[in-house]
Symmetry: C2
Subunit: 195 residues, 2 copies
């Protein structure tokens, strides 16, 4: 989609990796560019040969996150069995957002998107695509009679994402039962979709 035409300079990826490490540890605003270049093992000035500024790094990271989401979206689209599709999505997406790195980074990007238009643009686009794909899967199910017709697909799509991401955030501070609650969420929602 938005893949860069020319291959990305390896140093650029090193910077991104270092930035992610710093953002996870201290958060975006608490991280200084000197933290990043220190982590990356490069000089201060060199960072600006690869990125326009600090914000551009976070935008780049948000775009990468969007690419990772594309995997889910693609698999959400081939849709002969919406019930099974929804099943693995809940399983896999729960695993994805339960990785501390993804949960923390997602929270960081979401929070920043509330006030930073550049981030909001990338984040909003990614989010809309994911919700649309998920809602599309549910719509498919209602059309084929597998799911109840009176439920709003878009609402359930948001509900699923909110529930799983909320669980991911919660697991940061309490290493509680993971797969159990994940399955509980899954069966509650699938049960609610039953006609």
């Amino acid at each position: 989609m938005s893949a860069e035409p020319q291959p990305i300079h390896p140093r650029k990826l090193e910077i991104v990796e270092a930035a992610v490490t710093c953002f996870l540890e201290k958060g975006y605003h608490q991280t200084g560019v000197r933290d990043i270049v220190g982590q990356a093992g490069i000089s201060l000035g060199n960072l600006y040969n690869h990125f326009k500024g600090k914000e551009a790094i976070l935008v780049f990271i948000a775009k990468i996150e969007g690419q990772e989401l594309s995997d889910f979206i693609d698999r959400l689209s081939d849709n002969d069995d919406p019930r099974a599709t929804l099943g693995w999505f809940i399983t896999d997406y729960a695993a994805y957002v339960s990785l501390p790195e993804n949960a923390l980074l997602g929270a960081e990007i979401l929070t920043e998107s509330l006030r930073n238009p550049a981030i909001a643009d990338v984040f909003g686009r990614n989010r809309s695509r994911l919700i649309a794909a998920l809602a599309g899967c549910i719509t498919q199910g209602t059309k084929s009679g597998i799911f109840a017709p009176q439920v709003d697909p878009h609402m359930v799509a948001c509900l699923i994402l909110d529930a799983l991401e909320g669980k991911g955030l919660r697991s940061l501070s309490s290493p509680s039962g993971d797969n159990l609650t994940r399955d509980a969420i899954g069966s509650f929602i699938l049960n609610g979709l039953k006609p």
Copy 2:
């Protein structure tokens, strides 16, 4: 509960109010103490006569948020009709978290609690109380046979909060249909609780 013994200096509340305004507009870390004292119309040094530092202001705000939550918790406790209780909670809490001020401030506090132990302490305590009260209401319902016994009350409690707060956050960037989705969430969950 944690009400201060001696009455609070009016100036202290003015500072808090100003800080809230600033935090809403720019976020916690992007707000400088000079922004706060400017908004409050006081001098820079005087702020430190009322608060130990910038962080103490956010802790104070988090405690206030906890008191507002106490209203919900109290009403969640008298529990002769769990179904009706859950109904108004969803309605009222949705209204609460759909106010931009509450949604933004909640997100700010949550994000900060991920790395700031002082905030995490206050926030975590408040959150646990709310979840426990909500789960208690559901448990009451299952015991009296109104709700299905196989659903996990704690999971559903988290699901309700995640769904409503997610909706509140979403309404910040898209002023979409409010009460419609709120009711859709409510009936989906109440339907899922049916025995």
